[in-house]
């Protein structure tokens, strides 16, 4: 008589439970932001020196150029539970390294197509052009993103190891 097998599959009921827990009125999205050193990070610093307030949901990772951002980083962030990912670089034609921002844009566009196929809202990945003098714009972008993510709800992958 063949033994009944234990089902050790990823239990999506477990996922649903965790998701339900997070999807309360108190859901605070967790955003990872990749900010380029010369423009976006400086813009974020300017928001700071100007004391412009924005929600604390964003945690930044400084890279020298938005062109450093590998789509695999974004997938890792999503897999680990981040609700949203912001990638911010210099405006077109202003990249400190000439063209990193163009590559970043193309990679993220292609990645978004993949996310859509994976059933993940592509708007969870947000690509912004922010210059070193755009402190207010930075703050507004983060605020808007937090609001959007609150509407989208928690990362549907959260609860998955």
């Amino acid at each position: 008589m063949r033994k009944k097998v234990e089902y050790t599959q990823l239990i999506h009921e477990e996922k649903k439970h965790t998701k339900a827990q997070r999807m309360t009125d108190n859901f605070e999205p967790n955003i990872i932001a990749f900010l380029c050193n010369w423009c976006a990070y400086a813009g974020a610093d300017l928001a700071g020196t100007s004391r412009i307030k924005y929600p604390p949901n964003m945690k930044s990772i400084r890279v020298m150029c938005s062109g450093r951002v590998d789509p695999a980083f974004i997938l890792e962030a999503l897999k680990n539970g981040a609700d949203g990912i912001l990638v911010a670089g210099c405006h077109p034609r202003d990249c400190h390294y000439q063209s990193g921002n163009y590559k970043a844009k193309r990679r993220i566009l292609l990645l978004k197509k993949l996310l859509h196929q994976l059933g993940i809202n592509p708007s969870r990945v947000r690509f912004e052009y922010i210059s070193a003098s755009e402190g207010q714009r930075f703050a507004s972008a983060v605020t808007e993103f937090v609001d959007d993510l609150k509407k989208f709800g928690p990362n549907p992958l959260s609860g998955v190891a």
């Binding site: 097998v5 789509p71 566009l109 292609l110 994976l118 059933g119």
Partner: protein, 332 residues
């Protein structure tokens, strides 16, 4: 029927098993041609459902680690696949994930864009050639007047072999090439196996074995093969705008597809250092697509250019979705 006893206890005891597979790996094993005679000279095959009538209970009755090497092909799609994976793991000294399905999930892995319900819906209910007015779909058990009938559980998510048991070695490819298989057999017989966890294939990409000439990696647009009026028979396909997974895929296959003038689709799985075959190709491809004119293109033109890649998931994750960073579409 009694299990065939080994006449010579010195002979290697081998097993072959197919889980969720197409049978191609079985054929591939035979593609080593005459070498199969060398194999049976040094080994006894104890278990090979396609060829030998050994039963599961015979395997269950074996002592742990009594099989020297088990070649396990196919992905883990059902509870039966999982059960056999665990069974063969306990009964085998060395477990080799044979072929793309066992290695990275393979083609069956693409079903991870759906769920059991969606797969059953298409297979049994909602397709043009099925008449199923009573909407009967497989169940794991049903009581009939004679007793209870059971079927394996069909999981929502396809997994690779190493996602359910510890795997000792991997033979990549869909199917693995005869050269790789030969080489693997020789390594086993001569007891020269590399450290556990190794992939028994070169660590270079398919490009290393490919006949096409590589010039500069700048593509101005992506084309489907039929859209290319004249494929240059000497030039790298990717450089001609045809998506080829060669750069992101482990070699060892002698670039067979490229030799037949077809682009690589990635069946060898990721190269050693890559965390995600598809993500790496997405990054690399998007980096060089449109790179020559990137300063001149406006937002709309960039979007249109990327739009040309119609199916990123199917193109870049054809064989390795279950073992990628995000291994399935979000469950609805």
């Amino acid at each position: 029927m009694k299990m065939r006893q080994t006449k010579n206890p010195e002979k290697l005891k081998l097993a072959f098993y197919w889980a969720a597979s197409c049978g191609g790996c079985e054929i591939a094993a035979l593609d080593i041609d005459e070498k199969i005679l060398d194999v049976v000279a040094v080994a006894d095959i104890l278990f090979w459902p396609v060829a030998i009538d050994t039963k599961y209970k015979d395997i269950e009755a074996m002592e742990d680690k009594s099989i020297d090497v088990c070649f396990f092909n196919g992905a883990i799609r059902t509870s039966e696949n999982e059960h056999m994976a665990k069974l063969l793991r306990s009964k085998s000294k060395v477990l080799v994930a044979f072929g793309a399905c066992a290695h990275t999930g393979g083609i069956p892995g693409l079903a991870n864009v759906g769920s059991r319900e969606e797969v059953f819906n298409v297979a049994y209910l909602d397709n043009p050639s099925t008449e199923n007015p009573n909407k009967i779909t497989p169940k794991t058990s049903i009581k009939v007047k004679e007793g209870e009938l059971t079927l394996p559980e069909f999981y929502d998510t396809v997994k690779s072999l190493n996602q359910v048991v510890d795997v000792d070695y991997y033979l990549p490819g869909c199917p693995p090439s005869p050269e790789l298989i030969s080489e693997a057999i020789d390594t086993i017989v001569q007891n020269k196996l590399p450290p556990k966890g190794s992939v028994l294939a070169p660590s270079k990409s398919v490009c290393d074995e490919c006949k096409f000439e590589k010039c500069e990696k700048k593509i101005s647009e992506i084309k489907r093969i039929y859209e290319v009026k004249e494929v240059d028979p000497n030039k790298c396909l990717l450089e001609q705008g045809i998506v080829c997974m060669g750069p992101a895929t482990r070699g060892g296959c002698d670039a067979r597809c490229l030799n037949a003038n077809m682009p690589c689709t990635g069946c060898g799985g990721p190269t050693p250092e890559s965390s995600d075959q598809g993500a790496k190709m997405i990054s690399a491809l998007a980096s060089i697509l449109g790179v020559k004119d990137e300063e001149k293109m406006d937002e709309k033109e960039v979007e249109e250019l990327i739009e040309k890649v119609r199916d990123p998931l199917g193109t870049f994750y054809k064989y390795a979705l279950p073992t990628s960073l995000i291994n399935r579409r979000v469950m609805k």
